[in-house]
Symmetry: none
């Protein structure tokens, strides 16, 4: 199960030199590692058939300040196991990671988790719904702006069916004026949810539009108004939320939509290419400035 476990090795290594009661306690911990974090010390001692104080003494024998250190260790082991194949990634640098490494590791896992079957099914259902729409209105305010913008940008390269709701000076929602039952609103919102986004999603619903949501929780307010909901993680070791998984979702949706008619998508992209080429938009070297 856990081969790179320092505490476990320590217990095994010093087991022989323990007094009988400590051995009994230690054996029970080795055989029921999860219980250590899940029940109180007294109950663990009861199950192990030793006195509560023996657990404390075991902790000190192992060089810890108190039993709390042992519990913390096993709790952490559970937390890490949640990320299942964390072991698969790399064993070397698990102990002391910098913030950057932590962030990237966690991001990688969060995106990998989007690949689970339940999540894939939601993505495909959402893509299906979007594909059937006459027009797609894209809404993402504040932090979610970047996701909405990305979706709209890519879809614009692919065709003409999207409209980005981000007017200045409070005109965000104006784009919905001509929207109707055949259209779909793609709403992106994460906690804290922008009030305006929720209002517009609700309005879209009332207009009979389809609603597809990218959000962060089973209990996001968007669940109530959306036909299709895609969940993405936003947790981050920093002060703010991450949007990379949400962006990944947007990219997957674009990918699925483009994949429905590969020939058409390819042609649209080539057309866009020619257009941008004609405008001298791109360059592959630092241009000489005049």
């Amino acid at each position: 199960m856990s081969q790179g476990d320092a505490l476990r090795d320590r217990i095994i290594g010093t087991f022989e030199s323990m007094p009988p009661q400590l051995q009994q306690a230690a054996r029970h911990i080795l055989e029921h590692p999860d219980e250590v974090a899940l029940v109180s010390m007294r109950e663990l001692a009861r199950n192990a058939g030793v006195q509560p104080s023996t657990m404390t003494r075991l902790a000190k024998f192992l060089g810890f300040a108190g039993y709390e250190d042992i519990r913390a260790h096993h709790a952490q082991a559970i937390r890490l196991r949640v990320d299942g194949f964390a072991a698969q990634q790399e064993r070397a640098s698990t102990s002391d990671e910098g913030l950057a490494q932590q962030m990237l590791h966690s991001l990688s896992l969060q995106i990998a988790r989007l690949g689970e079957p339940a999540s894939i099914a939601r993505l495909e259902a959402a893509a299906e719904r979007l594909a059937r729409a006459r027009r797609i209105y894209v809404l993402g305010l504040r932090s979610c702006h970047l996701v909405a913008w990305h979706f709209h940008y890519v879809m614009t390269l692919l065709g003409e069916r999207t409209e980005h709701l981000d007017g200045p000076a409070g005109t965000v929602g104006d784009g919905l004026m001509r929207a109707g039952a055949k259209d779909v609103l793609l709403a992106i919102s994460i906690n804290p949810y922008a009030r305006h986004s929720l209002e517009l999603a609700q309005l879209a619903r009332e207009k009979g539009m389809g609603v597809v949501a990218i959000t962060d929780s089973e209990v996001s307010p968007l669940n109530g108004v959306a036909d299709e909901v895609i969940l993405c993680a936003t947790e981050s070791p920093t002060f703010f939320h991450t949007l990379a998984p949400a962006l990944a979702v947007s990219e997957v949706l674009c990918g699925l939509l483009a994949n429905r008619d590969r020939a058409a998508a390819l042609e649209a992209l080539q057309k866009a290419d020619r257009h941008l080429l004609a405008l001298n938009t791109y360059s592959s070297a630092i241009p000489r400035r005049q």
Copy 2:
């Protein structure tokens, strides 16, 4: 992860009818199910931002005798998961993946690769350079707009030192007018490189500004003008490039910068929170429309 979870379904089902505080508690439990079993109720309440009593009330609201029932449920879920290797093995054996799964898998790897030591070193060097700057000008055109926008948005919440170069009607570069040797340009550009981005980066260089680049290749044109370069993958099984790794880079940079003075960052965020709260920007439920 846990689809056959009665308690979870119960929480989701009754979520709408909960008072706000209960919702906040419930949301935290849904998002951190393991923590329920691993930390004390008081600490869980603290992390959820609610009173301890709210957790008890949530338990009663859900029809339990007390909080202990909730903890017991989550503890049992952890115990059962120990035997849950089957799902993982099955996942590993399915070589026939759909496009969505392919994309997410590849994305996950690309971001994990950003955590390699060489890459981490570049990220930290770039953060160091940005931290020393008087002002940070952020430039990302076309597809890279979302990355630039993200960096600017987060940094604005943290303080006042960034300016986003994205003026309309061809005024993109105007912001650099007053920029000087003490400032830094953060330029984001991937293949195909927007000509305008390269020109502005070159201009910044000539003005004596520092240049930090997020780009996609060792031979990107930005290599020539930037003091610090961060590379991120952009390949995708679709027709277009992925920007999720680039966004991840931006998030890491923000994280590293915020981490340099955690107290100040926290204070700035709280200030921003109060401001947005006063403006009634956010909501956690669909607002009633009048």
